[in-house]
Every structure is written in structure tokens, then in C-alpha cells.
Assembly symmetry: D3
Homo-oligomer: 225 residues x 6
């Protein structure tokens, strides 16, 4: 069983579903993270090429710390993510190659344009990967059973799934702190931890949680024995 | 493990999630159906009391045919379903008494006012049943892990779960045909079967399906072993 | 009086409004179908050029069977429909050349990205064709009086018009079966017929219907004698 | 052929669709107006009973001026319009008694609570009047073919029908000025005329228009000869 | 200058806009809090009358600690808030009596039914209080210039105003801890503080913020000198 | 203090917020207008280059008449406004260079595609201009405190701010009449004036107003002394 995460920029995977990643890994599942961009616009002083390299190294360190073995950097231009046939075919191929049980992606109403665009691109790629279509692609069709949308810049209006991440919060914080180049301006840990506190209160006092919208759950699974 | 179905009128349970009911029963789960009204306004010639009695008998026959053992008729006035403290407390008590793993209810955007109101009443009752609140109620708090919204008069815009009901379709048709008093004006089987065909094509040729929105799925279940 | 249909792929015209096409033709109106793409991505084994040719031939056969005389293949790349000045000018020219009384297009909330994009492109072209604008275009301005949005992959939430297609259903099925290359994976007839059954029940038992949203109806027509 | 107008308060009929009323009358159709309330809360100095009487007289004078022969005052309490079985049955009866070809009502998103509630009540009554239901009602079932929603306090987001009211604007102004008790605080003519100017520009320079959403248009009418 | 807060239950004022209250008070404005219910359903063991009394005392202690001088308990039944003429007139009177510059209320999309209903009731009361209407009310008409909607159970999708509450956070925590009867089940401080951390990161590292939607801001204020 | 206006075409600035511009100028603020396109598609007989020149001259005359000193023509192709890195960087630079207190832009739901796209581009540029990001840009980060969305082709559903423009209406009309090339087909003054009448009635009889949605207002400003 494997898990495929789509993140607009390095660190969105951790803010949106880093605790879930840690829990999947703890249960022995392979986790693969696909970064749509390498966040190369996130500075006024470091040039794009250098910044992309720095952020990919930070993502790699965070992955090592968590135990994620498999990262893909699609290296689209940060701030200008666009649908192209090349990108679409790469995304279809990634889905068909990894054949994940679970996909995580940003939710539809996130206010950040790159997050919205990532949502659209992933939803489209999942549909296109599921059938015998698109000659330029490789691998057999694969329909992902479980698809979950996470929150980063805009909280979800309807939460349909909570992941209790209390026990992996310390590890998650260490992973997030690998993204040193980004921590000067915005305290991403305060952001992730604050929202996890807010979401966790509905489980029990003292719990931390990540919140999701269930976009898809496996056909006929609820009536199965 | 038990299943609790909320239906605005007798037959909505079958149209919206009758195949799912049959499958839960086949897997040995207890299914309980709560009818908000007994559909007592569904005629111009039969008086309300007589019609309610007829429709409750039809629902009882359909339940026997399927194997549903437990029906509750809340007997609110058809067409004028309203939130009252008495109704709310009864609904909280039903949730706490049955402690279901699964709840099924009409979806939020169904165009029929009684379906919309049932949606609101159930969502509210589930929240109120979950905590140590409402002195007039009995039973210990119970938070329902899985909540699924079904479609009757208005199809869902976003389907997040499909139930393959091909193998129970014949049984479902027989159950629906127990509602004889309602079949003169509207062909409910054509309605349910037509939509099941439309939903089933995305599973495989020849399949029939019921479609749902996942309102809630069990906390931390997706990362569990 | 003429009718202009915009379809994302060959066969969407039949699934969405094929019965309406047959009825317009039976009443002597010229029907023109514009295919945004030739569905050239709908296979993993047949190359794009060959598949486009096959699907255009299938569409041509279906058109002959129905009596549609006039097809236009815009041949945009399936899966990657995009707004460009060239496409926009061709669409404006088509509207001004045919001066249709009726336009049919996919509805705004259809879940398929090519359908959504076709909706946006057609709505925009209708506005641009209506006034004395866009130097690169030909023909006099034409404001289309009646514009109807049809449903394919996502049912409409609000239906404001029903077309009874019971009497042309057999013909429609034959036309849809001309699209042989596409029928292996998805049973499009089950899909169209299932939804037509569901929509038809609100007319009368045994009727089949296509459902639409009225985007525009002719100015001052409702008060006319 | 007859026309049935539902208005939350006296004068809403004129602001929302007064020009359309005048045009229907000019073409010989019977127009019937149903006022949900008599606007009895519209003052701090005149008591409710007196104000209701004044406003009903104003509505009667405006109706005489336009040529409307038939007014019904439901006399619900202004500001507190509520769904009750009695009101619902009266509304069903009105629809079945008049058997109108056209119904006009406030649109769904009007910001005024009484307008929203009128919308909900009328939509529900139209559905309930259409079938053989509700024993307490009289008259044979009647399904209204054309249903149009007008704008008063909140403009429509999507206009699907325009009525050119230029030629009846003077008459409409005279009718609106019959509502003397209401003209001190808000210049309703400026409101109606301003919006009619804004809506009319898309027809031609100098035209005035009322804008509507088409909620329902007659089944199969667009393909008829 | 005065500030009027509408809260569904005691403690919602603090969770939603308690920091703003503290800042208004620090700047010398009178703050008045209106509790729609006294939260009398928030227990299974304490009867409604006793619980209402306990929670009103807790609210009074929190108010004293913050410096709020003026509390109104409308004492509607917790969980069953409903629009009635009596409630509406009391709310209109409160607005006209206090003539506040600022009103705070729950936002429209809060998932808790009592919060949604409070939103609707306040928006309606503000409109009704603004004009010379409603004979049963007292006081001169008053149109509230600034109206802000706060978040409690569902975060806002669009934030149009942030209040920096870092400097009053300790005081706010002490005030919230006065609501002892409610702190056993849900850690409201974790909830409020978590969300304030999440909202504060967009101001600067280490800041805490309350987020709002601006429903109304004073006419012509942005162009004034 | 300065004001930055983003307009899809020359004249949208006047229709949407021309009265506000006049009032800002009267109070001594610098107003800068950025035209996304020069409206070069607005004719069938004048070629694009000539038309752009004519419309820029018309905009310049209108600006002189009002007293606007600073116009920027971005000269994107009318009807085909698109997000590109070059455009985005120019927009970020404009924001950082002018450091405006106020930004005005079309609202999100305007039915005209160029208006929608301008909305998206401006919202994105404001976010990108606010932080230390985007190496290709110049100037220090600047977060715009007040952001207001105006209405042109589609009225706002929720108005959160009104600007009383009665006293500058004559001047505004003169400015709008500078756009001679556009006045043949559509009476833009009737459009702007009609909507201003409609919006103005809620202030007082005889007033004219521009309506806005407040997208952003300055942090902590409402509690300040």
C-alpha cells in the first residue's frame, strides 16, 4: 500500500498533512511526495536557481527525518503553475506508476492561487489516470480509492475527516524546521500547530489534528465486512 | 455494528440508500430506519390518518422483505417538518440508544423542502448527541463515526462514495413496490433505477450504484493498519 | 430557424441533448454541431491522429443517421482545451455565420474540465458575437435568443427546462451506438438512458427527458401575444 | 391565459415586475396579485391595523390604474413571514384556482428576509400544487409552466430573461406613486427606474428593462413548431 | 462611541471577538454584550434553570475581569433559537437604545445552528432598526456603521479584517477561564488560541489575531480626509 | 496617501469607481489608474492599433478632466487577458512603487471574463507584492491596507461599503463622455447612473452611490482611537 502527496511548494506537504505522512510511515506504508514547484520565487535576494536548490535540499532533509524515501520535484515556476500537456502526462504517469491507495492534495477553496491550481491539476490527473486514455502516457490505468484534501492558507468549511496527530507532533515540528529558508518571514510552525490545536479540540482536550475533506473513498467499502 | 437511516417519508430510504441497506443486512448488521413523517399528505382522497396508516404498513412490508427489523415512525406532519425541542430530543435519544456506526440522511441540496429540513435536523441531532449536553435526553453521548448523505430529488454535485448495488437490485425493486399507494403518480423505480444506472457506469459496464457525499468518516481511520 | 450545438467531444452532443437535436430536426430546423475536440486522447493504443479520424467518422455517421447536415471539427487537443484568440474568433464567426435561434452547451458545474472550459468559451463567444466588436472576425453581430445548458458528467442542481425525448429515444440510441470506439469502457447509453429515466419521471410515468438550465430566453417573449 | 404574482409587501409587485404586469394586461391576460403581508410594520407612528388598511387601499388604487382586477391580501405579519400549514394550503389553493400560465416571485438571493421567505414558500407551493397531494386543499392539480423570479433589494447575479418595459414606464411610475405612505423614506421610483436603466442598456440605448431568472419554462416548448 | 456584541451563548463573545472587546475597552469605549441564550442545555446533569444561572454568573465574572459593564441575557432556549416578533422587537430596541458604532456577530457560515440563527436574527434586526418601522419598538432609528462577523466553530473562508490581540491575550485567557462549567469537555482556550496563532502569522511572527468579515463599513468613510 | 485603480478597459474605472476617484482627488490624494488592456477589440471597423490609440487618448482626456495625473497602459490584448510572469511582475512592481493606501478592482463575480481575470490577477499581485518574494521584481514589499471591489457588468450580491457620489456626478458624467468611441452602442452613463440611483436610495432620497465589497481593511483599525 502506498501514499502519494501532491504539494504546491516544499513545506506545504508538512503543513497540510505532515502528521498523516508520519503516521502512514509508522504503519509501514511507502510515502511519495510530488512537489509541483520548488518554491523558487520565495525570496528577493537569492536567485531562482539557487533558491530551488536550497529548498529541494531542505525538503530532502525533512523527508529523511520523517522517513519519506521518494520525492519528485516537477520544478514548475513558483507563482505561475499552469496546466500543460507535458505536466498532465507526467502526473498521470506518476499516479499509474505508484498506484497509490491514498492521494493527498490541497483543497479546492484554498486562497493561494498555486494551491487552487494544484487542486485542479491533481483532480484532473486522477480522472485521466483512471481510464484507458492518453496515448502519451505509460503504465496501466489506476483509479485511486481514497483522495483527501488538506488545508494550508484557507481552513476548510466542511471537515469530513480528522487525523489525530498528537503523537507525531514533535517529529513534525522537527521536519518543518528543516525548511530554514522560509521560516524568517512566516512562522509556519505556529500556523500548523495553531490550526492543529483548533481542529484537535473536537476530538478531546489536548489533542492535535489535521482536517480534511474526503473527495473520494473506496467503492462499496462501507458495507464490506 | 448498527446502521441508522433517517428518511423524510416512507420510500425515501429505499430510493436514496435501499441497496446499501440490503448490503449492510447481508453482512449481518442491524439496520434501523427512522421516518420523519409518515407521508400523510400524499393524497387528495385518502385522509391523513388513513394514509399514514397505509404508508406505515407499506414501509413495514418493505422492511420485512429486506430484513430490516426496526422501524421508528416519528409521525411529523408531511410537508411541514419543523425543528422543535421535542423532536430534537427524540432524535438525540435515538442516536444514543442505537449507537450506530453508520448514519444515512438526505443531502443538503436536495430540492425537496422536507429533505432539506431532515438534513438539517439530523446534522444538528448528531452534533447534540455527541457531547454531554441536553438534560432532557437519555443515554450516553455517542459520536457517529460514518455519516453518508444520499440523493433522491436532486442529484449530488460532488460524489465522494459509490455503493455497488447491482447484486441487490432485484430485491430493492421488490421492496420499493411494496409502496403501492405512491406508485400511481410517479414511477419511483424508474427514478431510482435510472439514477443507479447513471451512477453505475463509472464503476464498470452493467453496474448499478448509489451515490453519496461523505459527511464524516472515522477519525484516524485512513492511517490505521 | 437554426440550432447550434457546442460539444467538448464527439458523443457529448448526443448524451447531453441528442433527443432535442432529433426533435428540432423533425420540426424542420437546421442543426449544426461544433466539436471543440475530436476526442483524440480517448485511447492508449490508437495514436491521436488516427483516433481523431475514427471519431470524426463516427460522429459523421451518427449525424447522417439523425439527419444533422452540418458538423464542424475545431480539433483542439482533447484534455487541454484552452482559450486562444484564434479559437475565440472562430467561435464568434460560427455564431455570426449561422445566426442560430438556439444554442446548446455544457453546464457550468459539469465536473469534466473540458466541459467546464467549453462552457466558459461558449458563453464568452456568445457575448463577443453579440456586439460590433473584434476586428478579426467576420459577419454581422448576432445575439442568440435562447441558450440552454445540458448535463453529461454532473447532473444539474437546478433544472429549469425539460425536453420530453420518449419518442426519439430509439433513434438516439442508434446514433449513440455509432460511437463504437468509445463504448468499450463506458456504457454511454446506460448513462444517457438512466439519467433520462430519472429526469422523465417528473413529467409522467414512462417518459424520458433531457434536463437543462435556461441561460437565456428571448427578450420580452413571455409577455408577447 | 392568466398570470399570478406573489409579492412580500404591497409595492414589491411593481418594483420587481410592474412593467411585465402592464404588458401582460395590454395583451389581454388576467393578472392576479397575492400580497403575503400588507406591509403593516412599515411605520413607527401608524398602528398596524390602520397601516395595513392604508396600504391595501394604495395597492388597490395602483391596481385600478394598471387594470389589475384581482388582488388577494394574505395579511401575514410584516417582518415575520413564516411557513404554516394554513398558509401553505391557501397558496396551493390559489395556484389551483387560477391555473396560471405564468408565476412571478422574488428571487432566492434577495437580501430581505421576507423576500427570501416568500421565494421559499412559493417554490414549495408550486411543487405541492402540481400533484395529487394535500387533502386539505381544493381544486385539481396544476403545474405552472413558466416561473420567473424578479429582483428588488438585491440584483440578480445571473439574468436569464429581460422584459423591455420602456413603453409602460410612465404608467408604472404612476402606479408606484399610489403607494404614498411608503415614499417618504425611500424613493422607490428612483430604485426601480435606476435598476431598469441599468438592465435596459444591454437591449439598446434608451431602453428600460426588468430582469429575471427563469426558474421554469414549459416542457418541450423550445423544440415545438 | 459604543460597541454591541451578539453572542449565541456565554463564552462565544470571548472566543469570537474577546480580544477586540478588550481593545475597545482599553480605548474607552462602552461595550455591551447580548447573549441570545444562557447556554442552559450545556449539561446532562445540571438542570436548565440552574445551569443558566451558573453560566450567567460566569459571564458576569468574565465581564468584570475585562471591564464590560453591560450584559443582557435574552434567555432563549439553548439549541432552539428561533425568530419571533418578541425577540425581534427586543433586538431592535437594543440597537436603537445603545446606538453602537460597532456591532459584532457570528458569521453566516458557522456550522453551529445557533450561530447561524444568531447571524440571521442580528442582520435582520440591524436592517429593521435602521428605518422608521415597527410600531412595537421604541427609540429612534439607528443605522450601525460598522458590522463585523467573527468565527467560532467554522473558520471564515474570506478574511477581510484582522485584529491584533497579542497584547490582550493573557487577559482574554483569564476571562475565558471564568466559564468553568464549560471547560471540562472542550478546551476553549486551545481552540481560541490555536486559531489566533493561525490568523496571526500573516501579520508578523509571534502575533495573535482575531479574523473577521466586514459586513458593513461606514458610508463614504474611505474617501474622507 | 495614494490610490491605485485597476481597470480591465478604459472607462471601467469611471463606471465602477469614478465617483470615488473624484472624491479622493478632491481630498488631495494622488490617484493612479492602471488599464489592463486598452480596449483594442471594441470595434469591427477600426484596427486594433488605431483603436488602442484612440481609447488611450480618451482615457487621458477623462483623466485630465478629473485631475488624475498618472495612467499606466499595460496594453494586454482585449478579450484575452492572461496571467503571465511578465504581467505579474509588472503588477507587483506597480504596487511596490506606488505603495497605495487604497486599491480598487473589479469584483470576483462580474460576468465579463476580462473583469474576472483582472480580479484574479490583482488579488494575486497584492499577495505577491506584500512579502519578500519574487526576485525579478523591484521595490520593497508593500501590503495594501484597504482593498475595495467595484461593480460594472454584474451587481454585487453583498454590498459592504457605499460611497456617496451625488456631489461629483456631473463631473463623472463629463469624464465618461470623453470615451466617445464607446458610446454609440452602449449608453454607459445610463448604466452607471442607473446603478448609482439604485444604490443611492438606501442612503437617502436623491442620493447617488457607488457600491463595493470590502476585500481588506487595515489591521486593527476598528479598535484604534
Amino acid at each position: 500500500m502506498s501514499v502519494l502527496i501532491f504539494a504546491p511548494h516544499p513545506d506545504d506537504d508538512l503543513i497540510g498533512c505532515g502528521g498523516s505522512i508520519a503516521k502512514h510511515l509508522a504503519n509501514g506504508r511507502a510515502v511519495h511526495v510530488v512537489y509541483m514547484t520548488s518554491g523558487n520565487a520565495g525570496s528577493r535576494v537569492i536567485d531562482k536557481t539557487s533558491l530551488a536548490q536550497i529548498r529541494e535540499e531542505e525538503a530532502t532533509r525533512a523527508a529523511e527525518l520523517l522517513g519519506v524515501k521518494n520525492l519528485t520535484f516537477l520544478r514548475h515556476d513558483d507563482g505561475y503553475l499552469k496546466d500543460t500537456p507535458e505536466l498532465a502526462e507526467r502526473m498521470i504517469n506518476l499516479v499509474r506508476q505508484h498506484r497509490p491507495e491514498y492521494v493527498y492534495l490541497p483543497h479546492e477553496d484554498d486562497g493561494h492561487p498555486d494551491h487552487q491550481e494544484t487542486h485542479r491539476l491533481v483532480v484532473k490527473a486522477l480522472a485521466q489516470a483512471a481510464g484507458p486514455w492518453f496515448q502519451g502516457t505509460t503504465g496501466d490505468p489506476w483509479a485511486v480509492p481514497t483522495v483527501l484534501a488538506y488545508e494550508v492558507w484557507t481552513p476548510l468549511r466542511h471537515v469530513s475527516y480528522l487525523e489525530d496527530i498528537t503523537d507525531v507532533a514533535t517529529l513534525l515540528r522537527q521536519a518543518l524546521e528543516c525548511h530554514k529558508s522560509q521560516l524568517g518571514e512566516i512562522d509556519y510552525w505556529a500556523m500548523a500547530y495553531g490550526l492543529a490545536q483548533y481542529r484537535g479540540v473536537t476530538i478531546a482536550p489536548g489533542r492535535l489534528a489535521e482536517a480534511f475533506t474526503v473527495i473520494s473513498s473506496p467503492t462499496s467499502s462501507f458495507t464490506a465486512k
